[in-house]
């Protein structure tokens, strides 16, 4: 007969903790994804709906070539950097939260 290990009832194994974890992580990921997807799906729509503007020349490039061939990359790097910084901060907050939660229960 297996004993129910004592940790099962503490905070870090609770539904509350898991729910909080996933909610905050998903929120961060989705907001960063939204910034990315906005440009990703927006660009073809721009090309479709405003072709004359997208064909204007900037230093020899057309606007749409400049965006897709060059500028897209740094835009994504910035989003990635923001995500990493925030998710590491989130993780630290989660560890603190877990410690406090355990203290509350014991």
């Amino acid at each position: 007969m297996s004993q129910s290990p004592p940790e099962e009832t503490d905070f870090i194994h609770s539904e509350e903790f898991l729910h909080g974890l996933m909610k905050h992580q998903l929120k961060l990921s989705i907001s960063c994804a939204a910034a990315f997807l906005l440009l990703l799906f927006g660009l073809p729509l721009f090309n479709y709906l405003a072709p004359e503007f997208m064909a204007r020349r900037v230093g020899g490039f057309t606007v749409s070539w400049l965006v897709l061939g060059v500028l897209f990359f740094p835009y994504v790097w910035i989003i990635a950097r923001i995500f990493i910084t925030r998710s590491m901060a989130l993780e630290d907050a989660e560890v603190r939260n877990a410690a406090e939660g355990n203290k509350r229960q014991s």
Partner: protein, 603 residues
């Protein structure tokens, strides 16, 4: 084969790259003795090395040769490929990298089994490692055949495929993955050097990136300025006449160009003459938009589901390192990807004869290798050296990707099928022998498949591999990580349906394209020629077949949700613990707890 046509510089550079790669492989084979070294490089690789290695492995023949070739042949639309290849990584970072690293398993099939407590599901996951893998090895083989035919003029395409395939298979069978990590890292830098140096030289001789683009007139410009404006110094900024076959400036430069409108145009061609213009006016742009969206979904979701790349996350010591690695990978590959389109742009202006080459080794896919030789006209041997450098880069590209794929596919077959399913009691020695035999088997199949694909575009084939991954592995990983209601049956239903649909769509597209080939392949696949008439009558279906992601990915996710809800009684009992392991900070030690619980009663 005409020996007098071989350029010694090109041969030398390519030869040195190959020799160094193999030497590093053999050297490290001496120090990789245990099975775990073979599979995940001893699990102790720093961020810098790992990022370089992932980037090195990621930059395949598609990245090195294929993108430039496709930009030259199809223009603006092809730019979606490098952007999505690089930015798809963001999806990986946002949704999958952290949890997967925390969960920790040798391979994706391991994750599949561990998340759902199902050895059956492992088998299904292993199949997709192989499907996706073979679609990815075929373009590498084309790259190999193309490059070798270029270096040794007159050498038949298939000989190049067989030689390169055999060499790499041997390398993998002897060295496993540990050697590969180091090699891959070095090869990133070889490739980066090889793509950028010739670009800088070519741009300084032939004018800047923007200036060369400016030579292509958009539709608006052609209408308002009937005469082409002469550049200030005609001797410097030259542009050769385009052959008939080449796409016209306005279509090439603008979105919704040759790549995305092929289906619509062939449908229009099948109509009576008077119906063509209205048909095109109504359908060309909307269908092209659908094509573009579907391509984007395939490439972005596919990046987040590539088995041979995901495995590398397990070589990081912890989750934070995994995230930093991903950031660096995005920078390293992003910087790389600015360069291949430049080759395409310059190739259009300076080497348009490639448009008339057969689609195979003499076509636009070879622009990266051939373009630097133009410099020979003015600066003699420098042109050959630069071309030799790009050849070295090309070799680095398809060798590193092919070996990475081979390791991941062999690992799936040897570790998962043999080691876990067929003979769980085999000794490590037996498993290592099995690894070697599996490597030979998979390498051979790749070579055989590779011999058939000469007429197909490298970049397009890689896009297909991504589309299959997008419809199978991506939904699996994304949903398994974020939704605890997933059951094994739901995951399997979604993955199998989406993945197989994408696979069939890709195969149908390929065989109909092959049947149109004017060379040997056309005869072999001539049975599929009637498909092309079907496509001409149904352009939307053709688009959905060529780029299946827009319907297969939602289909897979939908089935996963519906079937999981229908079988909700079979959600794993300890799903909360599993989700905790996936999401809780590693510092809390939940993973170790989970391992201990599972090492209790035998399963």
């Amino acid at each position: 084969m005409n020996f007098s046509e071989i350029d010694p510089w090109i041969l030398a550079f390519a030869g040195i790259t190959v020799a160094v790669t193999l030497w590093m492989g053999f050297r490290s084979s001496k120090s990789s003795k245990s099975a775990s070294d073979f599979f995940v490089a001893g699990r102790s690789v720093s961020v810098g090395w790992n990022a370089s290695a992932i980037s090195g492995e990621y930059l395949s023949a598609a990245s090195f040769m294929g993108i430039a070739g496709m930009v030259m042949s199809s223009g603006y639309d092809a730019l979606w490929y490098p952007v999505c290849y690089a930015c798809g990584y963001l999806f990986l970072l946002l949704f999958i990298a952290g949890p997967l690293r925390r969960f920790g398993a040798y391979t994706i099939p391991d994750f599949a089994e561990g998340r759902f407590d199902s050895p059956l599901f492992r088998r299904i996951a292993v199949c997709f490692v192989l499907f996706i893998g073979f679609f990815y090895t075929m373009p590498q083989m084309k790259g190999a055949g193309t490059a070798l035919s270029y270096i040794l003029p007159g050498l038949p395409y298939w000989v190049g495929v067989v030689v390169v395939g055999a060499v790499i298979t041997l390398n993998v069978a002897l060295g496993g993955m540990k050697g590969i990590t180091l090699i891959q890292a070095v090869q990133y830098w070889i490739k980066m050097f090889a793509i950028s140096t010739p670009v800088f030289v070519l741009l300084s001789v032939y004018g800047g990136y923007g200036e060369n683009l400016a030579m292509n007139q958009s539709a608006a410009e052609a209408a308002s300025k009937p005469a082409i404006v002469q550049p200030a110094d005609p001797a410097e900024m030259q542009r050769k006449a385009l052959p008939e076959k080449a796409p016209k400036d306005d279509a090439w430069l603008a979105p919704f160009g040759p790549l995305t409108t092929k289906a619509v145009k062939s449908a229009a061609a099948a109509l009576p003459v008077e119906e063509r213009a209205p048909f095109l006016a109504k359908n060309e742009k909307p269908f092209s938009l659908i094509y573009t969206f579907s391509l984007i979904v395939a490439l972005v979701c596919g990046t987040a589901g590539l088995p041979h790349i995901l495995v590398r996350f397990y070589t990081n010591p912890d989750g934070v390192a995994a995230k930093k690695t991903t950031m660096w990978v995005m920078i390293l590959i992003g910087v790389f990807y600015v360069f291949p389109p430049v080759f395409g742009v310059l190739g259009r202006n300076l080497m348009p004869e490639l448009y008339t080459g057969l689609a195979g080794v003499k076509g636009t896919d070879a622009v990266v290798l051939r373009l630097p030789t133009l410099i020979s006209q003015k600066y003699g041997v420098v042109g050959s050296i630069l071309s030799g450098i790009t050849c070295a880069g090309a070799f680095a590209a398809f060798m590193s990707t092919f070996s990475g794929l081979l390791v991941s596919m062999t690992g799936a077959l040897a570790h998962d099928v043999y080691g876990r399913m067929l003979r769980p009691n085999s000794t490590p020695g037996e498993r290592m022998r099995m690894f070697k035999w599996c490597a030979v088997l998979i390498g051979s199949i790749s070579v055989v498949l590779g011999c058939f694909v000469e007429p197909l575009e490298i970049n397009f084939m890689v896009g297909q591999a991504f589309a299959i991954a997008a419809a199978s592995y991506f939904p699996l990983l994304f949903m398994s990580v974020w939704w605890r209601g997933m059951t094994m049956k739901g995951a399997a239903a979604g993955m199998l349906t989406g993945g197989l649909c994408a696979l069939l769509a890709a195969t149908a597209t390929n065989v109909s394209n092959l049947s149109l080939d004017k060379g040997a392949m056309g005869k072999i696949f001539s049975g599929f020629a009637p498909l092309n008439d079907f496509w001409a009558a149904h352009p939307l279906l053709r688009i959905l077949c060529e780029q299946p992601a827009i319907w297969t990915v939602p289909l897979a996710i939908f089935l996963m949700v519906v079937v999981s809800k229908a079988t909700r009684s079979s959600v794993p009992k300890d799903v909360r613990m599993k989700m905790l392991v996936l999401h809780a900070p590693e510092a809390l030690g939940l993973k170790q707890e989970y391992i201990q619980e599972h090492q209790g009663p035998a399963h």
